[in-house]
């Protein structure tokens, strides 16, 4: 945590005034509906919507008709409490720094930035301003990921043996600009996009890994496929594959000494669990309730969308001083450091359908781009 949160003023929480910076698909599909839901149970108001494209601002303003609409950060009123930075990754650092310097707390979407030095500048700015800076690694709010954390920490299935995380699929996100596919604005390809979540969970569950090797298919642009080999403490090896291009199994597989766990990385409340060769559990995750003096599986744990809501509420609670933030800026920085290492050592992946001449030309394009 960067700053001491503002303490709660009493039993009734005060209204949290929020500015949304970036009105693309993420805001449209996640932040806007989540904030509307939250507004039904606690005092929260979206006061400003910022995006350089007026149509995108107008689309979100339908949900928040009283909000101020603007193209740059200057339009945000001074009495705003929290700014949500949901713009393309290339803008995260500069916007976050400007926002904390104006005295706003910031929830910055993942990836926190493109480079570690940007993260450091963001953290330093938040510290100087005494504001909260947190990062949108919302998968930590999934009941399924919390179960895995408990299994790992408690060694319920013994020691960790190996991991293999494969995630992605044909790109289906309703992107509203080229930003995600340009190096400058997107800060990379699938590695920094999906990888930001994967590395955050990995480091949260097992501790920081060492990058052994990385290969991707960028040939002068940004990668659509990437494969990373990793090592953890005690010699445990891991593999991470991500794609925006191929339909892949979407499965985080974790082998322990006495069994295994598998998780679909978009599913907040289901897990697979196995311990032998014949049967495995494919189960929903429930809250534990007590009855007859025993624990029971009670209500089903929150969904992905509910977990997203929980993330925003956690930030609001942190601002109120009633709970610590679940994801710190340092957590976000750690992810970027790992991704930066991957990019630094990544080489062109072998594409078995290409002729040697094609592959070599692809590698030339890649090197030309890197050099420039």
């Amino acid at each position: 945590m960067i700053a001491q949160p503002v303490s709660a003023s009493g039993s009734t929480p005060r209204e949290i005034r929020i500015a949304i910076v970036g009105c693309g698909a993420l805001t449209q599909l996640f932040y806007a509906p989540a904030l509307k839901c939250i507004a039904t149970k606690r005092p929260v108001r979206v006061v400003a919507l910022i995006d350089p494209v007026p149509d995108r601002v107008d689309a979100i303003a339908r949900h928040f008709p009283d909000s101020i609409r603007g193209a740059d950060l200057a339009a945000i009123p001074d009495d705003t409490d929290l700014a949500i930075v949901a713009s393309p990754p290339g803008f995260h650092a500069a916007q976050t720094i400007a926002l904390v310097e104006r005295g706003f707390h910031v929830l910055c979407e993942k990836p926190m930035a493109g480079r570690v030095e940007e993260c450091d500048a963001m953290i330093a700015a938040a510290r100087r301003a005494g504001r909260l800076l947190t990062v949108g690694h919302f998968k930590r709010f999934f009941a399924a990921t919390r179960c895995i954390k408990e299994l790992v920490d408690g060694r319920a299935l013994g020691r960790l043996r190996a991991i293999r995380f494969v995630e992605g699929g044909k790109f289906g996100w309703p992107a509203q600009s080229r930003a995600l596919f340009e190096r400058r604005s997107g800060q990379g390809g699938v590695l920094i996009d999906i990888g930001a979540h994967a590395f955050d969970l990995m480091a949260w569950w097992f501790g920081e890994p060492t990058i052994i090797a990385c290969r991707d298919d960028a040939m002068g642009g940004v990668e659509a496929n990437v494969w990373v080999r990793l090592a953890f403490a005690d010699g445990v090896e891991g593999e991470l594959g991500m794609s925006r291009d191929w339909d892949v199994p979407n499965r985080y597989f974790i082998r322990f000494e006495h069994g295994w766990v598998a998780w679909d990385p978009v599913d907040a409340n289901h897990l697979e669990l196995g311990w032998g060769n014949r049967y495995a559990l494919k189960a929903s995750v429930h809250e534990v309730r007590r009855a007859f003096g025993q624990p029971h599986a009670g209500a089903i744990a929150p969904t992905r969308h509910q977990a997203f809501i929980e993330q925003i509420e956690n930030v609001m609670d942190a601002i109120e001083g009633t709970a610590p933030p679940m994801v710190s800026a340092e957590d976000g920085r750690r992810v970027i450091a790992l991704i930066e290492q991957c990019y630094a050592r990544s080489t062109l992946i072998d594409m078995p359908w290409m002729s040697p001449a094609e592959w070599n030309r692809g590698n030339e394009l890649r090197c030309t781009r890197s050099a420039s």
Binding site: A175, E223, W227, R244, F253, D350, W353, P356, W359, R369
Partner: protein
Amino acid sequence: MHTIGILGANGFVGSRLVETLLLEDAARIVPIVRNFAGFARLARFPLEARIADALDETALVKAFKGCDIVVNTVLGRYNQIVAEPPVIYRAAEIAGVRRLVHMSTASVHGQDPAPGTDETTPLRTDQPVSYNNAKVKAERRFRELRRNGRVELVMLRPGIVFGPRDIWITGIARSLAAGEAFLVDGGRGICNTVYIDNLVHAIRLAMIKPVDGEVFLLGDNEPITWAEIYHWVARAIGDCSPPRLLNNPPIRREVRPMLDRLRGIGPLKAFFRTIPAAVKARVRDQIGIAQGMIAGARAARQARARTDWTLPDDAVGPVPIETAMLHRCRYKFPFAKARAQLGYEPIVSVEEGLIRSIRALRFAGFDIDESFAEELRQARGVAAARGIPAVPGAVEETPAATPPAVMPTPAASAP
């Protein structure tokens, strides 16, 4: 150097065409995709893609600007396939495109064509697979447009286009991994393959050869059966049950071709024309409701008839008619016309294409047992001695410049 607009540039065929032309510096490329999400695959390269829906003439005109050749590789459902030709052709004309290469399909002749079928065989729109009928209608429409238009037109009819990112090899691997793979009548039917690079080669010939107004069937040199393809995919991915062999299974027919046939009957056609649009819409709604009720009643009947006394995994649902016809195909399409007029000769053998496609399955998360490739070559070599023609050229190995296999292709073995 030509400037080539590639419509559907993010698809299976379009993206390999982009990749090949770009990496060979063979042309100026203008990839055209429907929306921003379509940039994901193309963004690997330093390319500027344009956005246009294949049914939006204004957007297409803008996207085609500066292109002397346009290749249409767009996929779509029935209505889109049928509606696209006039929009694409008119846009090409307005934009000053010289030639349009349209990707049709060998399926215009059906999935199990009669022996002797070639480009001169009349096409039918009363086939049991609606995709075939749509592609026939699209071809006819393009021909009409060419008769009255200025843009040259070449249409290609590839068979089963396979390769990395296809629906075929990847789909077979997935069905095997899920334990859901099956072969109708042993899968002894001929798979009319065209390896993706052979199709791309044909497209490049179609761009430049003096073949305006022509249509060409395309294929690989070597025949291969569906059972063989399933066998090699299963061998490579391992750890899966073999496909179930379904002899004479129940067939699931498509509804649209049956309705189209009804609509095509002269008196009925005239009668349908007299019905006001509003009435038709109401009837369609009623049919929708009736279909829902029938489905509900069927589900209820099945629920009543359900018994706990069944053996696991003994139920086989009806097989889609398209799959059944493919697995029973008796005929390998010829490509003599393409050979004669385009100078088309497959540049990659079906064996090599299969090896490359299977190896590429690593990108889809499969672990591949590399020894399959040598076995496949040997087994097919035996087949060649029995009379299947040998493959001319184009057998290429993993690039020599590839860095040492710290991590061979995407995946290593599963933990």
